[in-house]
């Protein structure tokens, strides 16, 4: 069953005691730069610094007491892992996290800091899945997939729900796409709340598997992509892909230059820290491949976890 607006509303109630209702910011310099009225949904200010907390929290609190007692487990390049670790700690259950050994140190530290029990593995999908399966079999922990999970999708959709409560007359809503959890949740919430709204995704040119999947009509896996947007390396899932096919108007690819320029502009002008994956959504406006001028545009800033020692504009 595809998740519905009812599920997203239920998720919003479920996570309300635990997640922040993040602010919606506006910035005049940005509006001038992109010739539109932009409303930034600041999931970089969410717990663990990313929207991922919404989905993880919804998944953890959807478990029965008996299920929950065995804990949760996942593999993730970072933000989902931190989110699941914190949500599990809040519920008082263990979180077993499989992480690639090349994940940014800021993300490793976050997961450990939230009490996640980390197993490192090689940075390949096969290695991650093997490690996860072993842990799940050993402990009986519930696998919470980073995006191909109904509770995760509906949890992520609560950001768009809040954004449209705050700014009901948006013409367009833009989210970045990696595995599609945020995008599919956003698309359900937005199009159910407002039939005529346009849902647009931003994807790195260098990791354009979602763009190609939509054109092909079937999931094309990403093939070892290299982009600064390290949260968007994954391929679409069997749950997220059909929702995106149905409800997303188009996927716009953004160059690495556009991602970096957008990121730096937001840091300099809006004075908030966003990670490259967030900047991909801004990049859709920045590069102006499509004309959205004059419109009211909601942008989901997905997260703010950046290794400050390694900024892209430094030599």
């Amino acid at each position: 069953m595809t998740p519905t607006l009812i599920d997203i509303r239920a998720a919003a109630q479920r996570i309300k005691p635990y997640a922040h209702r993040t602010p919606v910011m506006t910035n005049e310099s940005l509006n001038q730069q992109v010739s539109a009225q932009v409303f930034l949904k600041c999931e970089n200010l969410q717990k663990v610094g990313a929207f991922k907390f919404r989905g993880a929290c919804n998944a953890v609190y959807s478990l029965t007491a008996e299920e929950a007692a065995r804990g949760v487990c996942t593999h993730s390049s970072g933000n989902h892992a931190a989110a699941l670790a914190l949500a599990a700690r809040m519920r008082g259950i263990p979180a077993y996290i499989v992480m690639p050994n090349n994940a940014p140190s800021v993300k490793k530290n976050a997961v450990a800091g939230y009490g996640g029990l980390i197993t490192f593995c090689e940075p390949t999908l096969a290695a991650r899945e093997n490690a996860l399966e072993r842990i799940s079999l050993d402990t009986g922990a519930n696998v919470v997939h980073p995006y191909n999970d109904e509770h995760v999708i509906t949890g992520q959709g609560t950001a768009a729900l809040e954004l449209l409560e705050d700014v009901p007359d948006l013409d367009v809503i833009i989210a970045p796409v990696g595995g599609g959890g945020l995008l599919s949740g956003t698309a359900i919430a937005a199009t159910e709340l407002k039939k005529e709204i346009r849902v647009i995704a931003g994807e790195p040119e260098m990791a354009d598997d979602a763009f190609r999947s939509v054109i092909a009509g079937s999931i094309i896996p990403s093939n070892n992509p290299k982009t600064i947007a390290d949260g968007l390396l994954t391929s679409l899932g069997t749950l997220t892909f059909p929702i995106i096919q149905d409800r997303v108007e188009q996927i716009i690819t953004v160059s690495e230059m556009g991602i970096i320029a957008s990121m730096k502009f937001i840091w300099e002008r809006a004075k908030i820290i966003i990670e490259p994956s967030s900047a991909v959504a801004i990049g859709v406006l920045w590069e102006k491949k499509i004309d959205l001028s004059g419109l009211k545009i909601g942008v989901i800033l997905s997260g703010g976890n950046v290794d400050l020692e390694k900024l892209p504009w430094h030599k």
Copy 2:
């Protein structure tokens, strides 16, 4: 006449149509780190990225139409200049700005971007004052001093007024001190609203002229100080010093290491950009020279204008 709470309330009304009411943020990681409940008044999210807009705006809109027509002028290392330029542009009058030729490029660009008419000079107080006097004589423009000006002081005090409206039960309020405009305005607002509140200032160890002035009982000018907190290089003024003597409990000096560590922590955990001068106020809590544990503490984050090409934690 020393400014009063009535003046600050009048300033708040005067600047209301032009300035942001900035948010007050909290952050659990910070609370844990400093063992207190901290409320961050985000003047980094103010127009021009600094509290300075409040004072400049109050000064510009306090002018009669006849005075205003001749424009305004000042010398400033950056934030006050940008603030005055924007306030003047809003009122449709010229702003003549004297800037040291070694000011960070992000600040130069901001002033130019807001339409300020810049004259560069050598980075000495004498050179700045000479250049300013010449401009003032030539144009008849009203000098708006960066801090030793009643309208500026009362304008700056509006940040604390808002903070205490939002969080009335603060035990302590901390602001950084350079020339003392923000600190004196903050001290008046805070102690008039709440007699028992403790007003504490943070000052760089490497630019500790205010600390030494208070001990000496007379203004000791800063002597070519070198600190990363480039907004706090100036000496106290004849208006700000007596207010600080009367109403500020103590001035705490903060090491360069403490400033940088505080700044990085706020970037990493609170996901907002603050400049080193703001981090000095956090540094008071960070270095724990005095025991403020368990208290409710308001911190004025003075600004967020940073040259992203030159971050202190980069080699």
